[in-house]
């Protein structure tokens, strides 16, 4: 059983959900047109993942195995709807951009994956640490992709113009093909980096 520290740190690099486990691809492609949206999505996934991991690991012994899936989905959906409402009320600009991808956090492979693979089998403390690690990992990855696409797609990061006015922004990065290609190349680079760092 890995130590508590490992439980947290594995989510950052070794088992980074986006670049290693290839989970949660849909939001990573769709809303990372800007760093702020990427960060916002990362934080919402983080919040939902944390709460659902806690609740699932608490109720894991009471839920009969046959109805395991619907019960966990109920819990996750509740936290997602709460996030949806809170964002809609207090951060409307982010809510409008994320649009349909907030309700889709429910079926986001990361959360369902962690609930099934981890929270169901471990106690509360480990689940919290796992959620923290995974959550930070996701937020970092989404923000990174957001930065890259915004830097080249619109010449700015978090809205601040970096590349100056002479820079001709590559509009294609904001379109769907741009998202696919950027993430594909990033995955290749990360594979290379992981190989060199010796993280198998």
């Amino acid at each position: 059983m890995s130590t508590l520290a490992q439980e947290f740190s594995k989510g950052l690099l070794k088992e980074n959900p986006t670049f290693r486990l290839l989970l949660g691809m849909c939001p990573t492609l769709a809303i990372t047109t800007s760093a702020f949206f990427g960060f916002g999505m990362g934080v919402s996934v983080f919040f939902v993942l944390l709460c659902s991991n806690i609740v699932i690991s608490v109720i894991r012994n009471f839920v009969p195995d046959k109805v395991r899936m619907p019960a966990y989905i109920l819990v996750i959906a509740t936290f997602v709807t709460i996030t949806d409402m809170v964002l809609n009320a207090f951060v409307p600009e982010l809510h409008k951009a994320l649009g349909i991808f907030i309700p889709l956090i429910v079926v986001n492979c990361i959360i369902m994956g962690r609930a099934e693979a981890f929270a169901r089998k471990n106690n509360v403390i480990r689940s919290i640490l796992d959620a923290l690690g995974m959550g930070v990992g996701v937020t970092m990855s989404l923000t990174l992709v957001g930065i890259i696409r915004e830097l080249f797609g619109a010449g700015s990061i978090f809205g601040y113009n970096i590349m100056g006015t002479a820079f001709e922004p590559m509009g294609v990065l904001a379109t769907p093909p741009g998202a696919f290609i950027t993430l594909g190349i990033l995955l290749g680079l990360f594979n290379y980096a992981f190989k060199r760092l010796g993280i198998e």
Partner: protein, 177 residues
């Protein structure tokens, strides 16, 4: 942990009920905030078009809403329509403001899916200025009276035909005098 059917149904009932209750409570807090923010947002837009607007009365025609605006002395100053157009990337929803003599005085795109850098010209002065000042009686057929923006013909053409449709509605219902 007997796997009996009753226990399964009961578990889902309890979890479902708790979740349902929790959600409606949270909704109780957030719904008014959302409502109120949407309202202030629209009011600002309205004041943007008609600074001296005092009161407005919503009127639903088809599935679109038109706001009949009056100033503090109660006489009619203009109409703002929350309407939709067919764009390149799907529906474009926008507000169109027409003053009491039937001329377009402004428009605001509230949401669109046009391709960034190409179709989103509809949000900029370059396109909107072509339409400002036109009267509801003037013909607006895309490419004939008002030319579309090259490279974004579908977006701008869609907008122009929708404006024509909306102007007809405004003409019939509000320009009776």
């Amino acid at each position: 942990m007997r796997e009996s059917g009753l226990r399964m149904a009961l578990t889902l009932l309890i979890i479902g009920a708790i979740c349902g209750g929790l959600l409606s409570m949270v909704n109780g807090f957030t719904a008014p905030v959302i409502e109120e923010r949407a309202m202030t947002e629209f009011l600002q837009a309205l004041e943007g078009f008609f600074p001296e607007v005092e009161d407005y009365e919503a009127q639903e025609i088809g599935d679109e809403v038109f706001y009949y605006c009056t100033d503090n002395s109660g006489n009619f100053i203009g109409v703002v329509g929350q309407v939709k157009a067919d764009g390149y990337g799907g529906k474009i929803s926008y507000d169109l403001a027409v003053n009491n003599s039937g001329d377009i005085i402004g428009m605001r795109i509230s949401s669109h899916g046009e391709t960034p850098g190409i179709g989103d010209v509809i949000t900029r002065e370059e396109f909107q200025s072509r339409v400002i000042g036109l009267n509801y009686a003037d013909p607006i057929s895309p490419g004939v009276d008002v030319d579309t923006v090259s490279g974004a013909t579908i977006s701008t053409g869609g907008m122009l035909s929708s404006i024509r449709r909306v102007m007809d509605i405004i003409g019939e219902n509000f320009m009776t005098n």
